[in-house]
């Protein structure tokens, strides 16, 4: 079953065309890694998929439903998708527990007790149940990002979008966040992630998609594509990546 389907998606900011007719299908339980240089359109692609960015042409289907139709309730669509950002974006005025339960309580109308019980068991799973009453600024970057991931999955979204979630972290904190993503994959989550972690993409992603200048240059099984890219631009990008 196809969870997300992009068909000829265009997105421009003024004269600058960031996405130039992107086609992409993501199957259920699949983990897709988007790779490419900064400005290649990875983040914009994720944002259009969660309707956080406008679409100038093309269609995006979520569970078969055209979510680019202006008659669609965009808030209801976003509530079905979990998004995690590079800079965590936890709410600093809310405790960890309130961060995780906010969407459940406000959007999905789950009673506070049920939402908190679910949030606590999720926090337990990442070893942060003891921090439930703490505020985000007392947590390390890795802890904050793991809470942000838990916040995104607390309402059981159909699709999880991860936007360079380890790019803002100190190197020694990257591991704990990637371990959490790995366990999400094992639990059957459908994930699309923009990443610079090539080793992680090779180990965890089912498929790697290489973007350049707003278009998909090449895609294929993670190990194959990273080991033996067919396109010259992909080879060039990967070579630059290894040398840096």
């Amino acid at each position: 079953m196809t969870v997300l389907s992009l068909r000829g998606v265009w997105c421009a900011f003024g004269d600058h065309e960031v996405l130039r007719g992107v086609d992409l299908d993501v199957e259920r339980h699949e983990v897709v890694a988007l790779i490419g240089a900064s400005g290649s359109g990875k983040s914009t692609l994720l944002r259009t998929a969660s309707l956080l960015e406008h679409v100038d042409d093309g269609q995006i289907l979520l569970g078969g439903e055209d979510i680019t139709d202006p008659r669609v309730d965009a808030d209801a669509v976003r509530a079905r998708i979990g998004t995690v950002f590079q800079s965590y974006n936890l709410f600093p005025h809310l405790s960890v527990l309130d961060n995780v339960t906010l969407a459940a309580r406000v959007v999905h109308r789950v009673p506070r007790r049920d939402a908190e019980a679910r949030a606590l068991s999720l926090l337990e799973g990442i070893g942060l149940a003891g921090k439930a009453r703490a505020y985000p600024d007392t947590l390390s970057g890795g802890q904050q990002q793991r809470v942000a991931i838990v916040r995104a999955i607390a309402t059981d979204p159909e699709l999880l979008l991860l936007d360079e979630i380890t790019s803002a972290l100190d190197p020694e904190l990257v591991g704990e966040v990637l371990d959490l993503v790995r366990s999400l994959k094992e639990n059957g989550s459908t994930i699309v992630m923009a990443t610079h972690e090539m080793a992680f993409a090779r180990d965890v992603a089912d498929r790697v998609v290489f973007l350049d200048q707003g278009g998909i240059v090449e895609q294929g099984p993670a190990r194959e594509l990273l080991a033996a890219p067919r396109e010259a631009r992909t080879r060039e990008f990967l070579a630059r990546f290894r040398s840096s």
């Binding site: 808030d75 509530a79 950002f85 600093p92 959007v107 309402t155």
Partner: protein, 281 residues
């Protein structure tokens, strides 16, 4: 065993202590000298005895105190209602100004025009227009002058406070809004649950400062004829042309403002400490 400070550190501490004593002594002496100069200069002024008689007459103060105090009670009531009214109206105006999209243009323009108009117009003119002009329309039942005064205060202050809110709303990083919308929260839910709670923390000192300003400006409703502290003092003054009741009213206004001024100082200091500790909120 705790760390024993070295000779070097002990000497530095002793030096800092001596410096501290010296600073305190210097500021103490200079304050006393300055106060003495002011007092001597005032007492040497040729009109000093007359000024003391007409502004600082203890008998007149005692006589006018109860009347002025009961006038102040009206000021306090007007203040409470005007402060609550301003809080609500300013939030509505600020919210209207944050609405995006061409559909909301009329509302946005209305809010912008409102803040432009009432921030530009002197409070006293708004008081005259609302206090004398609106009742002249004869579409409202006869209302007390203090009611019209309260409405004028709310109209003027909401224009200022709406801008304070707007600054607070805009100071919340856009990524916060993005995260909230990404979770499926609507524009309104995002504003209420995520943006406003953070904006309040940032603009609280400015809001409290506006409250202090309003505390003084409630005295202006006296121009509409409401018997508040200022008006009561004026009536007392016209009895025997002694201005002491004005001083009494002035001091009472200061006493009224002091708690909020202290609260503002305390809150601002706390915020600064938090920010310097590297905290976000």
């Amino acid at each position: 065993m705790p760390h024993q400070p070295s000779e070097l550190e002990l000497e530095r501490r002793a030096f800092r202590k001596r410096q501290g004593y010296r600073s305190v002594l210097v500021s103490l002496v200079s304050t006393v000298v300055f106060a003495a100069v002011v007092v001597l200069a005032l007492r040497a002024a040729p009109g000093w005895p007359r000024v003391v008689h007409s502004f600082f007459d203890l008998d007149a103060a005692r006589r006018s105190f109860p009347v002025v105090l009961s006038g102040l009670w009206l000021n306090v009531r007007v203040l409470v209602v005007a402060a609550v009214g301003t809080l609500l109206l300013s939030l509505v105006v600020a919210t209207l100004r944050t609405l995006r999209g061409p559909v909301f243009f009329p509302l946005r323009a209305l809010a912008a025009g409102y803040t432009d108009l009432f921030r530009g117009m002197p409070l006293i003119i708004v008081l005259y227009l609302v206090g004398f002009g609106v009742p002249g329309l004869r579409i409202f039942p006869r209302l007390d002058a203090s009611v019209w005064g309260t409405i004028a205060l709310v109209l003027v202050y909401s224009a200022y406070v709406a801008e304070v809110w707007r600054a607070g709303i805009e100071s919340v990083h856009p990524s916060q809004r993005l995260a909230a919308r990404g979770l499926g929260l609507t524009h309104g839910q995002t504003l209420r649950r995520v943006v406003l709670p953070q904006a309040v923390r940032k603009v609280a000192p400015a809001l409290l400062n506006d409250l202090v300003a309003m505390q003084k400006d409630v005295g202006l409703i006296s121009v509409l004829g409401a018997i508040d502290a200022v008006r009561a003092a004026q009536i007392e003054t016209s009895r025997d042309f002694n201005f002491t009741p004005y001083v009494v009213a002035g001091l009472l206004f200061v006493l009224l403002a002091l708690p909020v001024i202290r609260l503002t100082d305390w809150y601002t200091a706390r915020l600064r400490r938090r920010e310097q500790a590297g905290a976000i909120v």
